[in-house]
């Protein structure tokens, strides 16, 4: 269970995230949306302890992320950031094996190896497993990082713009995968998304932010409406329904 209480981040005086109190649903896919600078990534970074909060608190399974030790949290919460550049020459399998570090501290057991192969299969990376990260495409690398995060075998997955640098085919593939992680494995997934249509079609729950505050949250039927989206993004939006999924048109 992920919960925040008055979580705040200030730079100088300006609050980038302003007293956000949330409870995110378990075993569901939550998308965080909002315009550039709305505070989405900062919010996620504070929940995942990459950044200290200026005020307020964040809890994962009732553990305060600011005071709980890093390795305890690493077994409950996995994170994926936008740009994960690795300078060392590491193979895909090595990278995924790092996901087991919180459990095995570098001494892999048979159970760890099974988890690694499972994550590789789940992301269809088995044929690439022995290639070096700098020899594969950006989309494949992105998938390798997701496999690492899955191998970490935590109940919660936090992802910051996981669709960055992916073309349409791979973006849709990534969203299906995250959906499967929720449906088949009972994980809780929280992702910052820029593409409102992906959020609408795949998420169970949407949190809309603007100027560091949450201005609306709820299932797609509630959030993906012209009035809410105009309040979030400040431009006119048209919502159409295609095969039961709400989809937004705002291009001209």
């Amino acid at each position: 269970m992920i919960e925040t209480q008055e979580l705040t981040r200030r730079y100088d005086k300006a609050a980038v995230v302003d007293a956000v109190s949330l409870q995110l649903p378990e075993q569901a896919f939550t998308a965080i949306i909002g315009a550039n600078g709305a505070g989405k990534s900062t919010f996620l970074a504070m929940v995942s302890r990459l950044m200290p909060a200026s005020a307020g608190r964040a809890f994962v399974d009732g553990l305060d992320v600011a005071t709980t030790s890093g390795d305890v949290l690493a077994r409950r919460l996995a994170i994926l950031r936008q740009d994960s550049a690795v300078t060392a020459r590491v193979t895909v399998r090595d990278l995924v094996a790092f996901g087991r570090y919180p459990h095995s501290r570098g001494r892999l057991t048979a159970e760890d190896r099974a988890q690694i192969e499972d994550a590789l299969d789940f992301l269809e990376l088995a044929p690439l497993a022995d290639r070096f990260l700098d020899e594969i495409s950006g989309g494949q690398r992105q998938r390798a990082f997701v496999a690492m995060v899955l191998a970490q075998d935590t109940d919660h997955l936090l992802l910051d713009e996981p669709l960055n640098n992916l073309d349409m085919r791979h973006a849709a593939g990534m969203m299906k995968l995250l959906r499967r992680a929720v449906d088949e494995r009972g994980r809780t997934v929280v992702a910052v998304l820029h593409d409102i249509n992906f959020a609408s079609c795949y998420a169970d729950h949407i949190v809309a932010m603007r100027d560091g505050r949450v201005i609306a949250e709820g299932p797609p039927e509630v959030i993906v409406t012209p009035s809410v989206l105009e309040a979030v993004y400040g431009i006119a939006m048209e919502v159409v329904s295609v095969r039961g999924y709400r989809s937004v048109h705002y291009y001209r």
Partner: protein, 330 residues
């Protein structure tokens, strides 16, 4: 060294190719060390061995210290160009040595117990290195080139400051000091061999325990935190270890700027593995081979016995430029 070697041996058995490479390096290092002790020796053996043995021991210690410091530093800086020497660590230690004489007089260095002086200087070094480099490295978002340039300029400032203070102390004391601020394998401080050996041993014990965690740090700050590794604390810990290693090598023979860069990159190239359990022993052995082999060649072939640091500087500088050219290509 032994602790690290044991752990290394245990892990290496899993990858025969890597074991072979490290084993061959160890053999090569041993052969060169033997050659260094015996070639061209005249007169009484016990005398020759004692004299050359001291020199050899110092070179092995310095090689291991410099190589380990370079690899550890590159891990937390996450690139293959920054090394402690390039970032001004050696110059900082030189400044601390000068500062000690400046503030306390030669007593601080010469007349007191040299081991005590070494401990005090190494301690000061740790504090200042943490203050100066902690913020630079713990952030994890600064550009490589900025850090590099800041380090180079800091090094230049430290050296100037040291010579500034040097001019203000007694000329007789200055002469003593100056000998320490230039790398020279012929003027090894034999009184420091034992304490520095203990210091290096202690650092290697800690490093052996850190090995898997160091691998995780290669992934960068955010991924490391995500995997439950306290990035900040470990970066600081590595800076402490590096400070001790740099203090050891600088106190023993003076600054050797590009050796670490040279052997760390050779080790990365030779080994098809990113893991510290393989890279660290390989880099250390390469450093021993380079130092002892270089000194042997210069002494026996060219009859030039005091210019090894200069040659390393020359070759290392060229390697650094080649690296810059190559990273640009990618």
């Amino acid at each position: 060294m032994p602790a690290l070697a044991n752990v290394a041996l245990m892990r290496l058995t899993a990858r025969p190719g890597l074991a072979l490479i490290v084993g061959l390096l160890a053999l090569l290092a041993a052969a060169i060390a033997t050659a260094f002790l015996t070639i061209g020796a005249r007169g009484r053996w016990d005398f020759v061995l004692a004299f050359r043995g001291t020199k050899l021991a110092a070179m092995v210690l310095v090689g291991v210290a410099v190589a380990t410091a370079a690899v550890l530093f590159q891990t937390i800086a996450r690139n293959r160009i920054l090394t402690p020497s390039i970032m001004g660590f050696d110059a900082l230690y030189g400044l601390i040595q000068t500062g000690t004489v400046f503030l306390l007089g030669a007593r601080g260095l010469g007349f007191g117990d040299p081991r005590l002086a070494f401990a005090v200087e190494a301690g000061t070094m740790i504090v200042f290195a943490l203050l100066l480099y902690g913020w630079l490295l713990a952030d994890g978002r600064r550009s490589l080139h900025l850090m590099l340039l800041v380090g180079v300029v800091l090094g230049a400032i430290f050296r100037s400051l040291a010579s500034f203070m040097g001019r203000m102390i007694d000329p007789a004391e200055f002469v003593v000091l100056q000998q320490r601020l230039f790398a020279n394998f012929n003027a090894v401080r034999s009184d420091l061999l034992l304490p520095t050996c203990l210091a290096v041993g202690a650092v290697l014990l800690v490093v052996a325990r850190l090995l898997p965690r160091l691998d995780v740090l290669l992934l960068g700050r955010e991924a490391a935190i995500g995997l439950g590794v306290d990035h900040r604390r470990n970066v600081f810990l590595v800076i402490v270890l590096v400070s001790i290693l740099v203090s050891v090598s600088t106190a023993l023979v003076g600054p050797v700027t590009f050796l670490g860069l040279l052997v760390a990159n050779l080790a990365y190239m030779l080994l098809p593995s990113y893991r510290h359990v393989h890279v660290l022993p390989a880099a250390a052995l390469l450093a021993v081979v380079a130092l002892v082999g270089g000194q042997l060649a210069l002494e026996r072939l060219f009859a030039l016995d005091a210019v090894l640091p200069v040659v390393i500087e020359f070759v290392g500088g060229i390697v650094l430029i080649a690296l810059l050219v190559r990273t640009g290509r990618r």
